[in-house]
């Protein structure tokens, strides 16, 4: 009687260590996020799996409502509303966050994993000083005096490139420019040296020159702290600039995942082609400058059967009847490159080479 549970525990922990050894730092498996609404269940994330090592940057791209933000908020443990169900597994450094207690996830939040949001004005509390908000973030996880925390805040603000940090630490968010606010947000997120940093459209609200500076900053900081970074964006330019890997999401699921080189030079999913074609090009004729992916993102309450992209896919007819009935799974097509598409592999390569690539 007594040996049985012990051996079970031993097997469990052995399994956990074994898993830990070949498991990436962040390992998301079959993640599902569902919101119950009056209109029905919204399947915001629908079986997402990916892994990410420390020191690497993953760009998650997709249209609005593709589940990018829902998935990242789930990783942060910020999807715990009463009408929200999160299932699957989220392993962070060998610990499953889905089954961990809310209190445990809270203690990791801000310390092990931090998040930067899209609009730095609305993401900072308007009534509190920038410095105090950073101090607060630091002091939740570190038992230090206010003074020591303030020194830390000044250091951080200085590190992210805010001039005259000693004085600006006592400013309010509205006294900062947009770029400065985003720097301050980054300083706040970095206050506890997180090993996972999620940036949800960190540059969307900023103008282009500031955008580049912020991306450079994230790049530098990653080298310095060796953190894993997830950058959520619908701007492929941002992805090209900063990401090592790209995850293309559609209707709550990954349709293509690969190194940034493969995604840009040999993409295999028609939706990825659509995204690449939709990059605005000023060297084309005016009518041809902006090529949108036809149609609208699908309803997440009634996701189309089969491949969720098939109603918008101009190559759906070549993919055979399965595309209307069966959801494609992510298949490895090259080392580190996975695609979920019913089109035959040769057809995908040929179509991209002959039809898509020349017009990019």
């Amino acid at each position: 009687m007594t040996t049985e549970p012990e051996s079970a525990v031993a097997a469990d922990s052995a399994g956990a260590t074994a898993a830990k050894e070949n498991q990436p730092y962040l390992d998301v498996r079959d993640l599902r996020v569902t919101f119950r609404t009056d209109d029905g269940d919204v399947h915001a994330v629908n079986g997402l799996s990916f892994g990410l090592e420390r020191g690497r940057t993953l760009g998650i791209v997709g249209e609005s409502g593709s589940g990018k933000s829902a998935a990242s908020l789930a990783v942060m443990g910020l999807q715990r509303g009463r009408r929200t169900t999160v299932s699957g597994e989220i392993w962070l450094d060998g610990e499953n966050l889905v089954t961990a207690s809310a209190e445990r996830v809270r203690s990791l939040r801000g310390r092990e994993m931090a998040m930067i949001f899209q609009d730095p004005l609305s993401a900072m509390h308007p009534y509190f000083k920038v410095g105090d908000q950073i101090i607060e973030a630091y002091r939740v996880h570190h038992d230090v005096s206010k003074k020591a925390a303030k020194t830390r805040a000044v250091e951080l603000l200085d590190r992210v490139g805010i001039p005259d940090a000693r004085r600006r630490v006592d400013s309010y968010p509205h006294e900062f420019s947009g770029g400065m606010r985003q720097r301050a947000m980054i300083a706040m997120a970095l206050s506890c040296d997180p090993s996972l940093l999620i940036a949800d459209e960190p540059t969307t609200a900023l103008d282009v020159t500031v955008q580049a500076q912020i991306l450079d900053l994230l790049n530098d900081l990653q080298k310095e702290f060796n953190s894993a970074i997830i950058i959520i964006t619908h701007d492929l330019g941002v992805v090209a600039e900063i990401a090592d890997e790209v995850l293309v999401m559609y209707a709550g699921n990954a349709v293509e995942h690969g190194g940034v080189q493969e995604i840009f030079s040999a993409p295999q999913h028609p939706y990825t082609w659509g995204l690449l074609s939709s990059i605005t090009r000023l060297d084309r004729t005016r009518a041809d400058r902006l090529r949108a992916v036809p149609g609208n993102p699908p309803s997440l309450i009634a996701v189309p059967a089969g491949c969720p992209f098939h109603p918008r896919c101009q190559y759906a007819d070549l993919a055979g009847p399965a595309t209307r009935t069966e959801r494609p799974t992510l298949e490895t097509v090259a080392p580190g490159h996975r695609v979920a598409c019913h089109l035959p592999a040769e057809a995908r390569v040929r179509i991209f080479r002959e039809e898509v690539a020349p017009s990019l």
Partner: protein, 333 residues
């Protein structure tokens, strides 16, 4: 900041002055254009021509309106004589007019009514602020659950029930039926704090019942708004415990609009809670002005109106200053 306050106070004085001009015009011009003579109102029943002429002279109604207003305004600061031959009346400063109906300066009436109104307003304010905000917060944090639905249903009922209904029902029960609070009448706080509170409690409850319902709904809506803000998500993302997220980040932002409304409500309550005062028979500013209206006692109406307006203006200034203190974005630099 000091400059901001001074500007606000000066602005408030200008507003008050405008209000005094407008009310003065309304009360002295409107009867005239309607063909009724204010002097007749003061002269008693079925007055003789001579009596009317006497009153007209005594009140200065024969003088141009501007001069009349000037006398009124001057009286507030230096006092005023109402003389008509041997009939002399002295109205000491601050003279807000002289009620010939009650044979006393309006200021005396105001100072007599004010403690009652202030007692009523502040007692009720403490009650409804605490209960309304408390219920609102609990409701917001339990949105859609039973406690929220129950609280909001009760609140809807409370908002819909007029004070003269809830007041009379409560009076009937606690004062006449159960005799818990028999013979309700106002006792000055300094005479007996206990009796003061005991006599005012039913009125506080009635007034607070209505207001706390409004405050519960307001707080709930404001709290839900704020809980959906990005900076609350940021606070959670920092790993702050939920009680800090709600108690510090959400509450501070959510209560700001509530306190704003509270300041304005308190200002107008201090001008007199007409229905509650009438229901409970307290001669506060509200009841005083109602009586003045029913007897056509123009100077009293004028005085009380300006006084009530002063409270609203003062409350507005305080709310503005409060806002500047709380919200750095509106803080003058």
């Amino acid at each position: 900041m000091a400059g901001f306050v001074i500007r606000r106070v000066l602005g408030g004085i200008v507003v008050l002055w405008l209000i005094s001009v407008i009310t003065f015009l309304l009360f002295f011009l409107v009867p005239k254009t309607l063909g009724s003579n204010p002097a007749v109102l003061f002269a008693g029943r079925a007055p003789s021509e001579a009596a009317i002429a006497g009153v007209t002279k005594k009140l200065g109604l024969d003088q141009p309106l501007v001069v009349q207003y000037w006398h009124f305004l001057k009286g507030i600061f230096v006092g005023r004589h109402f003389d008509a031959g041997p009939d002399k009346t002295w109205c000491p400063p601050p003279c807000f007019g002289y009620s010939f109906k009650n044979s006393e300066p309006v200021w005396t009436e105001i100072t007599r009514a004010l403690p009652i109104t202030v007692s009523l307003a502040f007692g009720a304010a403490v009650l409804f602020l605490v209960s309304g905000v408390g219920v609102g917060i609990v409701s917001a944090l339990n949105r859609g659950r039973l406690v929220d639905r129950a609280a909001m249903t009760v609140a809807l009922g409370a908002v819909s029930l007029p004070v003269y209904f809830t007041g009379l029902v409560l009076l009937l029960l606690v004062s006449y039926q159960w005799r818990l609070f028999p013979n309700i009448h106002y006792v000055a706080f300094l005479d007996s704090p206990l009796l003061w509170a005991r006599n005012l409690l039913p009125a506080w409850i009635v007034l607070a019942f209505l207001y706390s319902a409004m405050y519960a709904r307001l707080t709930r809506a404001s709290m839900l708004d704020v809980l959906g803000e990005d900076y609350i998500r940021t606070a959670r993302a920092k790993g702050l415990p939920e009680r800090t997220v709600v108690g510090k980040h959400a509450l501070r932002a959510a209560l700001t609009p509530v306190i704003t409304i509270f300041g304005l409500d308190l200002g107008s309550l201090l001008g007199g809670a007409v229905l509650t005062e009438t229901t409970f028979g307290f001669r506060g500013l509200g009841k005083t002005s109602i009586e003045a209206i029913s007897t056509g006692d123009l100077p009293t109406i004028l005085g009380v109106t300006i006084f009530a307006a002063a409270f609203v203006v003062l409350a507005n200034i305080l709310v503005d200053v409060f806002y500047a203190v709380v919200d750095p974005r509106v803080r003058p630099t």
